[in-house]
């Protein structure tokens, strides 16, 4: 159109053409109205349609690494106002090492017009939109058009124009469905992680992408590996992002695009909050005095000896104690002290690490070692090999055996070497502490919650006291001959016991594999099983060749070292970001059992706040797959039919949070109660302060607690009318 104008206009950038539609070199632009007739006092929905030449594209509101979003300068009659141009979900357009966010083929931008109530009926509204856009293929051309539209005005709006109905429908399908605010963005050692509560309609997305609203937050072109968090309901997705220059200060908001298995994409406005460090403890924590906290820490340490995840190590310790029966007091004392030193050094190192992480802003909890898949894998290896050694399948050298059995080597009759057990006792102490740490016993939670809020010397004192408690029983048995003398004499029974004790170790390895399956899915389990195969084969080769002529022992050792290296490498791969809990293996396996289960929802701070605002009572349960106490509580106390009925009768909302992998939202919640570990059970009445339930639950405790919510409005029943 208007060919006569083309030549002079080319010389006069920006190119301006009038009409509606307007065709430029790369784009045909139109401004269309949803209804052919509009009415005063009503809104009018308009749509800027850019039909783009194939291979070219226009831009989203954040154009990505280059480019510019379309904009409109309006010329409107007095009283008529235009809203902001809206942007449907964009495509990710890769340009070499860069990335743009934009549209190919057709871009649709809805915009609303407000018509004043006193606009005279019969007088059309003349709208003039000066639209500017940048259109790029390899190179970019800024284009403009003046789009004129005249809207007839009647006393009521006309029907939708069928000619453009499909365009409007398409545009609206591309717009965000709603906003998600239950999302946390935080820096991680590897970069950044966005943790988002998935909408109920897209629980198993197949494509996930986050488009930031502003420049500088993240690298636009970086891959975004994601995985579904192994939440009880599979309700969260974690996206790994690469921070860009303004990560700390840029608006963390953006658009989350999810495509489900049926091929339908949906988008959501995302307003993540930024993850915060563990906040300084509230008053309730500080009120726990230091002597009391130290007392709890010591008691907690003692109780750790009895915890299920320490039991295998405890068993090893009993075994090595029996071995020491033949030693003199001085040597036993030295063994006991070595063991204690091992525990204390480990707790000191772990405390230092925890405090370092705290300083680094990573709000991690005490149980974080078992939240790290490679660590779980390594522990599984360790328990497998120790189990094999105890079962007699392997005769390991003094190093591994020492690690397992403390001074157990001393019991092996003729091969006894008196000085050998000291390093081993030290190692056994460290091992006991290593395994004990994730088991947040009732007393440990309070003491640790207190510790992380303290200055580092006090925090270390708490942790060391905890370690002292863990080491105390062994130390006492070592020092007190009367007690040690009561232990059975060494004899053939020891071999039987030793073999028997292999099974708790295998059990622990099996349990660790299960934890890993929750964290890293079948791929992670396959990696670690391969690692186990490699490791046991290497050890078998070494075993076979140990007594052969040279150079066989050397080759056997080399083979076992290579196998060990391979196994370690496989263990580390369990942390590859791409390994994820696959969408088709829902954690629901654990919920399809025919056990009564109270209706539950995944925990989110928003859900909790909403229920509290409604005045609905809430039971919060924070759990983790690796937390034995949690699982036992759920089985014994929370899954009873009576509890389910009571929760339903009292209209109690049951929120369950899964902390199996690091989940910042739950870490924050725990920190709010001065805890750094699970479990925690909190009952919120309709109004008033929440009540923290004990960490070891019985059906009676839970039923009594829920019953105490009792009367729907106790205030009124007592006549306290405000």
């Amino acid at each position: 159109m208007r060919h006569g104008l083309v030549l002079p206009l080319l010389l006069l950038p920006p190119l301006l053409v009038w009409g509606n539609p307007v065709s430029t070199e790369q784009v045909t632009a139109r401004l269309v109205a949803e209804r052919l007739v509009v009415a005063p006092g009503e809104g009018a929905e308009l749509l800027l349609v850019l039909d783009i030449r194939p291979g070219w594209h226009t831009y989203w509101r954040n154009p990505g690494d280059s480019g510019e979003p379309p904009r409109i300068v309006w010329e409107l009659p007095a009283g008529v106002a235009a809203g902001t141009l809206q942007f449907p979900a964009p495509e990710l357009i890769r340009v070499g090492p860069l990335a743009n966010f934009g549209y190919s083929n057709r871009a649709l931008h809805p915009v609303s017009l407000e018509i004043p109530a006193n606009w005279p009926v019969g007088e059309p509204i003349r709208v003039r939109a000066l639209a500017h856009w940048l259109v790029c293929e390899e190179h970019c051309i800024p284009e403009s058009a003046v789009l004129d539209l005249s809207l007839p005005v009647a006393d009521r709006p006309g029907p939708p124009d069928p000619e453009v109905a499909r365009l409007f429908q398409e545009a609206r399908e591309g717009l965000p469905l709603r906003a998600i605010s239950d999302a946390v963005l935080r820096a991680t050692p590897e970069g950044a992680r966005l943790d988002v509560a998935l909408p109920a309609s897209v629980r198993r997305p197949v494509v996930v992408h986050f488009f930031p609203s502003t420049w500088g937050l993240i690298e636009h072109a970086a891959e975004q590996p994601w995985r579904l968090a192994p939440d009880a309901d599979g309700g969260r997705v974690q996206i790994e992002l690469t921070p860009d220059a303004e990560f700390e200060s840029a608006d963390p908001g953006g658009l989350l695009v999810l495509r489900s298995g049926d091929g339908v994409s949906r988008s959501y406005d995302l307003n993540p909050r930024r993850g915060v460090e563990v906040p300084p403890g509230p008053e309730t924590m500080s009120s726990l005095g230091l002597p009391l906290a130290l007392g709890f820490a010591f008691l907690g340490g003692l109780i750790l000896n009895l915890m299920p995840c320490v039991f295998p190590v405890l068993a090893i310790k009993v075994l090595s104690l029996a071995g020491q029966g033949a030693l003199d007091l001085r040597r036993r004392a030295v063994h006991g002290l070595s063991y204690t030193a091992g525990v204390l050094v480990f707790f000191a190192l772990l405390g230092g690490l925890l405090l370092g992480l705290r300083a680094g802003g990573a709000a991690l909890g005490w149980g974080f070692q078992l939240q790290y898949p490679p660590f779980v894998a390594l522990m599984a290896y360790l328990f497998l090999v120790l189990g094999l050694a105890l079962a007699g399948a392997l005769i390991l050298g003094a190093r591994l055996m020492g690690l397992a059995g403390g001074s157990q080597g001393a019991s092996q009759g003729s091969s006894r070497r008196p000085n050998q057990g000291l390093g081993a006792a030290f190692a056994a102490g460290a091992l006991a502490a290593l395994v004990a740490a994730p088991c947040t016993a009732p007393f440990m939670g309070a003491a640790l919650g207190y510790a992380v809020t303290l200055a580092w010397p006090l925090a270390l004192a708490i942790l060391l006291t905890l370690g002292l408690g863990l080491a105390a029983p062994f130390l006492l048995l070592s020092l007190w001959p009367a007690l040690a003398a009561r232990l059975p004499r060494p004899g053939p029974w020891m071999e039987v016991l030793k073999q028997l004790l292999a099974f708790p170790l295998f059990g622990t390895a099996a349990w660790l594999l299960w934890v890993l399956s929750v964290q890293s899915g079948p791929t992670g389990v396959a990696l670690v099983l391969s690692g186990m195969l490699l490791l046991t084969f290497g050890l078998w080769v070494r075993e076979r060749t140990a007594l052969a002529a040279a150079p066989w022992p050397w080759l056997g050792t080399a083979a076992s070292v290579a196998a060990l290296a391979g196994a370690l490498w496989l263990a580390l791969l369990t942390e590859c970001p791409g390994i994820e809990t696959p969408p088709n293996t829902p954690g629901a396996e654990w919920r399809t059992e025919p056990r009564p289960q109270p209706d539950q929802e995944p925990y989110s701070a928003e859900r909790l706040a909403a229920a509290r605002a409604e005045g609905r009572p809430v039971l919060v349960n924070m759990t983790a797959a690796w937390c034995i106490t949690c699982l036992v509580n759920e089985r014994v106390a929370l899954s009873s039919r009576r509890v389910a009925e009571q929760l339903a009768a009292g209209d109690v909302l049951y929120l369950k949070g899964d902390w199996t992998n690091r989940d910042p939202a739950i870490t924050d919640y725990l920190a709010g109660f001065g805890r750094t570990g699970v479990p925690i059970y909190v009952l919120y009445p309709r109004a008033g302060e929440p009540r923290v339930l004990p960490q070891i639950l019985t059906p009676a405790i839970v039923e009594a607690a829920i019953a105490s919510l009792g009367d729907p409005d106790p205030g009124l029943s007592r006549g306290e009318i405000p």
Binding site: P14, P97, E138, C140, P142, A222, P225, W569, L572, C576
Partner: protein
Amino acid sequence: MTRSLTRPLIVAGCLVLALTVQPADAKPEVGKPAPDFSVADTTGKTWSLADLAGKGLILEWTNHDCPYVRKHYGSGNMQALQKEARDAGYLWLSVISSAPGKQGHVTPAQADELTKSRGAAPTAVLLDGDGAMGLAYGAKTTPNMFVIDGTGTLVYMGGIDDRPTTDPADVERAENYVRLAMTDLAAGRPVSNPVTRPYGCSVKY
């Protein structure tokens, strides 16, 4: 095994599993030493950051056909800034990172002709056809500006100004971030706006 040894092994392993791509680039950061480069200019002379110690340096990524670049050359804004910077003792290197065959790629003679015809005043025009320098600096757009102080520290990176449009009329209204950085440095102050969004066409790597 040391950390430095295990990290590449893990990364390689993850790649073997074809489950992820790890971006392994060290990104330029304001306040840190600027990435080194070694690129030939239109006369064949090689420029590298290590040889330029003691002098302030301004890097300008450019592409003569990009409408955003044309806004600044057509209005004379870029040329004026170049002269101003060089009068203040800065070296000015214009960098062309368009790959051979891609839009904006030029021969040395074409680059010199562009400098002459536009009345531009860079110290030199670097031809970074393999994109090594552009990728080291994370240059994303044309124009994309970097200011490096005499100690080799990167003190500014981002856009040329705060008006991300192709409209030449915006040049007058804009706050020029490069000029601001030079003013701050001359006054011995830290650069007040050290990182901004670069705007323009994408660099044609």
